[in-house]
Symmetry: C2
Subunit: 389 residues, 2 copies
Amino acid sequence: MSMNKVRKQQLDIILQQQGLGALLFWRPDELVLTLGYLPHWGISFLLYPRDGEPVLFVPELEPEDILPAGVAVHTFPWGILDCPDPWEELYAGIRAVLEGRGLHRLPLSFVKSVGRSAPCRMAAEQAPLPPDLTERLSLLSTDGYRGSDLEGLYMVKTSEDIAALEVTHRVAALAVETFYRNLQPGRTEAGVAASVEATVQEATGCEGVYYARAWALVQSGINTAAAGRFNRTTGKALAPGEGVLLELSICVNGYWADITRVGQTSELPPAHKKIFDIVAKAQAVAIAAIKPGVSMETIDEQARRVIGEAGYGHLFAHGLGHPVGFRYHDPGPGLSPGSKQLLQPGMVLTVEPGIYGADIGCGVRIEDNVLVTEDGCRILSDYCRNLTI
Amino acid sequence: MSMNKVRKQQLDIILQQQGLGALLFWRPDELVLTLGYLPHWGISFLLYPRDGEPVLFVPELEPEDILPAGVAVHTFPWGILDCPDPWEELYAGIRAVLEGRGLHRLPLSFVKSVGRSAPCRMAAEQAPLPPDLTERLSLLSTDGYRGSDLEGLYMVKTSEDIAALEVTHRVAALAVETFYRNLQPGRTEAGVAASVEATVQEATGCEGVYYARAWALVQSGINTAAAGRFNRTTGKALAPGEGVLLELSICVNGYWADITRVGQTSELPPAHKKIFDIVAKAQAVAIAAIKPGVSMETIDEQARRVIGEAGYGHLFAHGLGHPVGFRYHDPGPGLSPGSKQLLQPGMVLTVEPGIYGADIGCGVRIEDNVLVTEDGCRILSDYCRNLTI
């Protein structure tokens, strides 16, 4: 196995068109996008040069069995006693490859910020990147840093990406089922969230699942009214007749899904049920309109019209959806007012209308991940989206 | 309640000694350190000026009930449809305060990097910080950015910090007990880790616990041999007569503990048990030596001598311990060879000797969090550290 051909072609085009010597990738989501590799420590660097094969630099302590096949791997010392300056060794290694291929006089490009990136496997703290990393990387070429549009790479998923996202969504199905089965009065929001996250982690070792972690945010009753501003989990106990909202982000082998469901402990008050039905209709209408060639804003409008006609347009204050797959929220245009981008096969987008507010004392969002196909779309998260399973 | 007095004095001294107009704090661990506040979105900014009261800038979508008392709060728009550029509003807000107090001609200081910082509550992706954040913040003063030693603030915990860390360690006790009680052959490493993490999250809502999350990394049998290079969880099933290592990082209300235990499914092979006994002795000897005025390297030496005399010095390739409390690994000097820093009351350090390697086919680390007191030390994580509970 080596790097995906479609992705290689995209990178080669960027290098040629922008006159670059090499691209550098080090954000965890970028390494998944290029190599299908979610780093352990978060300090792995892929050098993708204009000429010759790419080289992956990883710290000596990186687990060998997670390294991608089909790419040359160079290690640098890091994290042990008496270790020399790891960063000097890394920079020297990258420089040696560039000089060896005569590329050190052409500009380098990479994403400078860690903002919004996916966490590496060691997610309990930010990766130990040195403060002057981007300045130092810029100095590896005598022509320095040049910006380039690497965000465009996230837009269309390859067939390998889609196969990986199907695995993620198989695990997510278990999480959603656990959610519905735990909505007993007396359970706390935190207890339900813990059960959902445990279901995901327990899938590690199942066929094709090497790494699985979820962040479940559970809001119940009056707490759902805030779900348009923030999702979080508290220690509140579920009461009878309450709506319960699950915001689920889940990463399996580096590939992400982002799903929302609303369930009930027992029959909802009619006012809350009415909101649920409007949101469900808005989502169904929007998904039915998804096909290649339609603009993103058109899909947003479909859902927004249903909610607006029901009189709740002012309580749907966010866009209808965003790209997803390499992280919780992929960059790039989404299903939002004013987004002229046309849908293309291979795009994966969330569709997540919502109505929430203190005015109505509750909140509902239903969110699925939809793959644009040649002639329409397919819901990757096509599991129960009713109030009860 | 307002900002801790000891901490305020420390900040005032930094401002005076270094001729600064203001300090800016925005990393999650810095906001816990200054305000006891763990941000939800990770884009909150504390402006601590030389003159007048501090101001906390938070996004409009931040939950109100987690905001700290006793500090002025200004909001900026972020995350909603038709929102103006949130960063321009933030920068303008900070500039207005500086100008209003005549401080905009003095240099500003802050930590430029997110490297190694604690995650905010929305931990499934990095906070949405703009790529040019530190450049733009530097421009808020006509005298620009000046570096300062803010890492020193992490070294000695205040009495409020210690009270908060005691809450964290109460929850961690439940996690450690869950670990021991789940070491049945046939359970997977991932299953054990999921149970440990669930125990922590389920504590949310218990007395004094508003936010609780853990990352449990579980290695069993031969997998423990790698625990000196990396900790992680796989789908491997536990077998009879295996050692099982738990690396636990846990955050409660923003305050962290970092604990390691080794248990067994049933009686360990004598060779593995022998390693366990050496590590346990090394840890006990080191902890017994901890008191104010002793150098950090001396404590490291105590443990290293026990392990060296047993013939395993080459398999203990990391330092004995590091500061902990505001994040998984606090910055600053630790219990390492060559560390001349003297111990002071209020320091909280891990003590974590280990022996691991493919040579011996196993690995053991025992890790506790120790508070230096006026006349010795107190183990904050003083729970079972035997092979069975």
